[in-house]
């Protein structure tokens, strides 16, 4: 009985224990589910806002829409820089495993030349991390179709329609217009400093020189944005909203591209610079620096052989000589010296010297060009025949401080403030300048003998062609000095509103009218009967000028014979002029590097420029070639 009872009891106890443990397990299940519920409550209620934002960030991508860059027009409305749309084949390096293999594969579908590979490699070195880089530009329709058919073979490679910059005039005016090229690390820093980072998302070109650089933020426009929904693979699924871009503003220049072309051609293959200014406004009519270069080469990333050629050429085509070349003005300095003499009262127009052809100072002989001298020389004659002795004496009488003070007023040795970056100041010599320039005390001292050669535009004198042109224009304009500028007005792309770049008188110099007239009359004389009379023979207008020849190196008393001196050591030829003499509309400075005599090399260039600008006359044998360059 007892045994049976216990045998019945055991399973019951066992069942009870089992049920207890099942109950325990049930409790554990309940606790675990409560834990899950708490976690889900935390995610979906407490942190809901945070995760909603994260989900939206995942989903929505802002795709920049690059604005059309503003165009650049010359004063007649001729297009100097414009945009065109073309297809490019682009690789996103971060999405491609084996770049070389991909390019090899591509070259079987579309022609990829070794130069394209070279350029791609160069771009790769300079690139930002995630951008796509062009392996080929300007694809034909057929090439686009051929790639489209094989597209699946090339992940990370795509055809994109992009806007390209084109300079229809090619090399003409390249130093003034400048060029754009791909954004590099230094450009990125500039963009960041200008707080334009957002506006340049999606932009991969930027102005690198000339007006393209100076007016970059005007030309660029405002980047638009498209909100697109993207999937996990980064592919756009649909467009949610779109803010259209605002195209860049257009620049209209004071520059006359046909005048520019004639001036450039007039240089032939000689190195040099020419700046022509409208005296009444400071508007630049032509800004020449030869040799020039084709800015179109830079647009899709310059090929390395082109780059080497431009960069290593002894003629330095990339140097803007008009703004960055500094040269002794030679005898073109004399009219300014004469004006200084009149204004400071050191000379009167009638005061004359007897020129023996040489000036002795401190045991040193300063010689005149003409052996035996020019005889009796007054101020007028000193300019017309370019008498050195007159100016040796004058410089000595005035002293360096008075010369420097006067020349500084006309802008010599200072940046003109022209609207192109990187202008050089040149050197206006003075005792103060020498102290700053040299370190050793014995070099810092100004010697009275150094003042003598300053008088004829030699010595430490060193000015940029644009300074010389500005000073010439200031005389033509009776002492009212304008800031030289290239942009006449900016057209707002949205409103069409034109913002004029107002002629801005930098200074109004208080010169006596009769003093200016003396100088002007003498300069007219130069073109009629003086050193440049031959160059201006038969011109249908009156003009004023002054020739100059500046020494590249000192001959130390030996006689200068052009044919005996190596070309690079030959004198620079200079010429300053304005016309028409009675009411000047154009003033210019011409410089021909190692050109020899100013009258021979530089003055004829000025004549061609004046003939075209004033009379519409084309130079002989240089009938304008129609621009036939294709797009």
């Amino acid at each position: 009985m007892l045994g049976r009872h216990s045998r019945l009891d055991a399973p019951d106890r066992e069942l009870e224990r089992f049920r207890f443990r099942v109950g325990l397990a049930g409790f554990a299940v309940f606790v675990a589910f409560a834990l899950l519920a708490a976690r889900l409550f935390h995610l979906q209620v407490v942190q809901h806002d945070y995760y909603s934002t994260r989900a939206e960030d995942n989903r929505i991508s802002l795709v920049p829409i690059v604005p059309n860059r503003g165009v650049i027009l010359d004063r007649q409305g001729t297009v100097l820089a414009r945009n065109y749309s073309a297809f490019t084949l682009e690789i996103t390096p971060s999405r491609v495993e084996d770049l070389e293999a991909t390019i090899d594969g591509l070259s079987k579908v579309i022609e990829v030349l070794p130069k394209d590979r070279k350029r791609f490699r160069r771009l790769l070195e300079e690139s930002k991390t995630f951008e796509s880089l062009p392996i080929r530009t300007r694809l034909s329709e057929e090439e686009v179709a051929r790639f489209a058919a094989n597209r699946y073979l090339f992940p990370g490679v795509e055809v994109k329609a992009r806007l390209f910059r084109h300079y229809p005039e090619g090399a003409v005016g390249a130093h003034a217009i400048g060029y754009i090229s791909r954004i590099n690390k230094r450009d990125l820093e500039i963009i960041e400093e200008s707080e334009q980072t957002n506006n340049y998302k999606g932009t991969d070109h930027i102005g690198k020189s000339g007006l393209e650089q100076k007016y970059e933020f005007q030309l660029h426009g405002e980047t638009g944005y498209e909100q697109v929904e993207i999937d996990a693979g980064g592919r756009a699924v649909r467009s949610l909203s779109r803010t259209p871009p605002v195209p860049g503003n257009n620049l209209s220049l004071t520059l006359d591209i046909r005048l520019q072309e004639i001036a450039e051609k007039a240089f032939g293959d000689r190195r040099g610079a020419l700046v022509a200014i409208e005296p009444a406004t400071g508007g630049i009519l032509a800004l020449v620096s030869t040799p020039t270069f084709d800015p179109n080469l830079f647009v899709d990333g310059i090929r390395s052989d082109d780059w080497d050629q431009l960069n290593n050429s002894p003629d330095k085509p990339l140097l803007n000589r008009a703004l960055n070349g500094a040269y002794p003005p030679g005898s073109t300095f004399k009219p300014f010296m004469a004006l200084a003499a009149l204004e400071t009262g050191k000379r009167t127009p009638g005061q004359a010297i007897s020129d023996p052809g040489v000036f002795n100072f401190g045991g040193h002989q300063f010689r005149d060009d003409k052996k035996g001298g020019h005889g009796l020389v007054d101020m007028h004659k000193s300019i017309v025949v370019s008498c050195d002795t007159y100016y040796y004496l004058l410089a000595n009488d005035m002293g360096i401080d008075a010369i420097a003070r006067f020349m500084g007023q006309i802008g010599f040795g200072q940046r003109t403030g022209v609207d192109i970056e990187g202008e050089s100041p040149g050197v206006l010599p003075s005792p103060e300048w020498k102290k700053r320039r040299f370190r050793r005390p014995e070099q810092q001292k100004w010697f009275a003998g150094e003042t003598i050669s300053i008088g004829i535009g030699q010595g430490y004198n060193s000015y940029t062609p644009i300074q010389l042109a500005q000073a010439t224009a200031t005389i033509a304009n009776n002492g009212i000095m304008y800031r030289p500028h290239l942009v006449k007005y900016i057209t707002d792309s949205r409103t069409g509103e034109k913002t004029m770049i107002e002629p801005e008188p930098l200074r109004i110099l208080p010169w006596k009218r009769q003093n200016i007239e003396v100088i002007k009359k003498a300069m007219v004389g130069v073109n009629i009967s003086g050193t440049s009379a031959r160059a201006f023979a038969g011109a249908g207008y009156t003009s004023a000028g002054k020739t100059g020849t500046s020494q590249v190196f000192s001959l130390k008393g030996a006689e200068y014979k052009e044919s005996r001196v190596k070309k690079e050591l030959r004198d620079h030829a200079l010429f300053i002029a304005y016309a028409p003499a009675e009411a000047p509309t154009i003033a210019l400075a011409v410089l021909v590097e190692n050109g020899g005599f100013g009258a021979q090399a530089a003055a004829p260039i000025a004549r061609m420029v004046f003939d075209y600008y004033l009379l519409g006359k084309l130079p002989k044998g240089a009938a304008r070639e129609e621009n036939v360059e294709g797009d």
Binding site: F18, G26, V45
Partner: protein
């Protein structure tokens, strides 16, 4: 006569079905199917295939429910032995996929023997305990542990930590419900805690990485942490009421990885929100509650521990999966019952629920 025959056939076919389990199963399948539809919006053939899987699952469940527990008991030893032999075969001649040797090729198809053990291990252990019901001693527990350890190690070595944990859990539940003394349980827990550092060194690199990324998903946002980050974003952005069916951006823009299989809960939570999650968890809770009730009321030792183990295994699937997707457990490959796409898991699950039904509906017969 005919009427009698029809009635007997009806009784034969329908009586073994447990109405509550069937209802819960159908409800979960409905939720699962709509979610699979959303997760595979790009590929409608998956929806059809999953509907087929579910039909097969229901048929298997019904078929298993027909078998009385005594008959089930007869399968215990052969199924277990077959499973272990197949695992050993996998060890030597299995197909290697993604660095793991989990499959056996049968020529026309591949099978995953570890799946069999999810049922075979609890069945075997329940049978073993049932046989020694009256005289359970320490050595029986030791033998049971050994019976569990062999397949566990074989599966863990494949490596397939997810399945190994599920098989181990199923076996452990049998041993626990079978009456393993508390002192031993406490001792094992202490030993386990002490062994944890050693276990850490035994883990594969990818397993360690998963545990580390759980602690700080942002340490590897594009690698192992990506799954967790995107899943929690999906769940969190779902909010209280969800973004609406087929409207989940994380789902439809393909930010959620494995969204129709292991991470399907993220899809559901994004589109249905906290409210939907509450409904889903309640359905699971009812299913588990029903299973535990069946276990508590079962008439034999075998039936009790088997039903308990199967039910708690089901709970383990749900807990590990939802815990993993919501970022409180490491990422292990465990599907969510009735929700995740895939036929094998559904069939295994249906066998389990079929057994529960069998145990419930054959109870009276045994009592009588």
């Amino acid at each position: 006569m005919a009427e009698q025959l029809a009635q007997r056939a009806w009784v034969r076919l329908v009586k073994p079905i447990d109405g509550v389990l069937l209802l819960l199963t159908l409800a979960l399948m409905a939720v699962g199917l709509t979610t699979v539809h959303s997760a595979t919006a790009d590929n409608s053939s998956r929806l059809l295939a999953q509907a087929m899987n579910m039909s097969v699952g229901l048929a298997v469940m019904w078929a298993v429910a027909q078998l009385p527990p005594q008959k089930l008991m007869r399968f215990a030893v052969p199924l277990y032995l077959a499973g272990v032999v197949l695992l050993i075969l996998v060890f030597f001649v299995g197909i290697k996929v993604n660095g793991a040797r989990r499959w056996l090729s049968l020529g026309f198809t591949r099978i995953q023997p570890s799946e069999i053990l999810k049922i075979a291990v609890p069945l075997m252990l329940a049978w073993y305990f049932h046989k020694h019901e009256a005289t359970l001693k320490a050595r029986h527990y030791a033998v049971a542990c050994l019976l569990l350890l062999v397949p566990f190690v074989l599966i863990a070595k494949q490596p397939d930590l997810g399945t190994a944990i599920l098989v181990g859990a199923a076996g452990f539940y049998v041993i626990f419900l079978g009456g393993l003394p508390w002192k031993v349980i406490v001792g094992l827990l202490a030993a386990g805690a002490a062994a944890a550092p050693f276990a850490w060194t035994m883990l594969h690199d990818y397993q360690r990485k998963r545990i580390l990324t759980l602690i700080d998903p942002s340490s590897d946002p594009l690698g192992a942490g990506y799954h967790i980050i995107q899943a929690t974003i999906a769940i969190g952005s779902g909010g209280s009421f969800g973004k609406g069916w087929l409207e989940g951006t994380q789902t439809h823009l393909e930010f959620i990885p494995e969204r129709h299989t292991d991470f399907i809960f993220a899809v559901y939570a994004e589109e249905r929100g906290l409210l939907g999650n509450a409904v889903l968890l309640l359905l699971y809770l009812l299913l588990i509650g029903r299973g535990l009730m069946i276990a508590a009321n079962a008439s034999t030792f075998f039936a009790r521990v088997l039903a308990g183990s199967i039910t708690l295994s089901l709970f383990t699937y749900v807990f590990v999966n939802v815990g993993m997707v919501s970022g409180i457990l490491p990422v292990v490959g465990v599907p969510l019952p009735y929700m995740s796409y895939g036929g094998t898991a559904l069939v295994t699950l249906s066998v389990g629920v079929g057994i529960l039904m069998s145990i419930q509906t054959h109870r009276m017969l045994v009592r009588q």
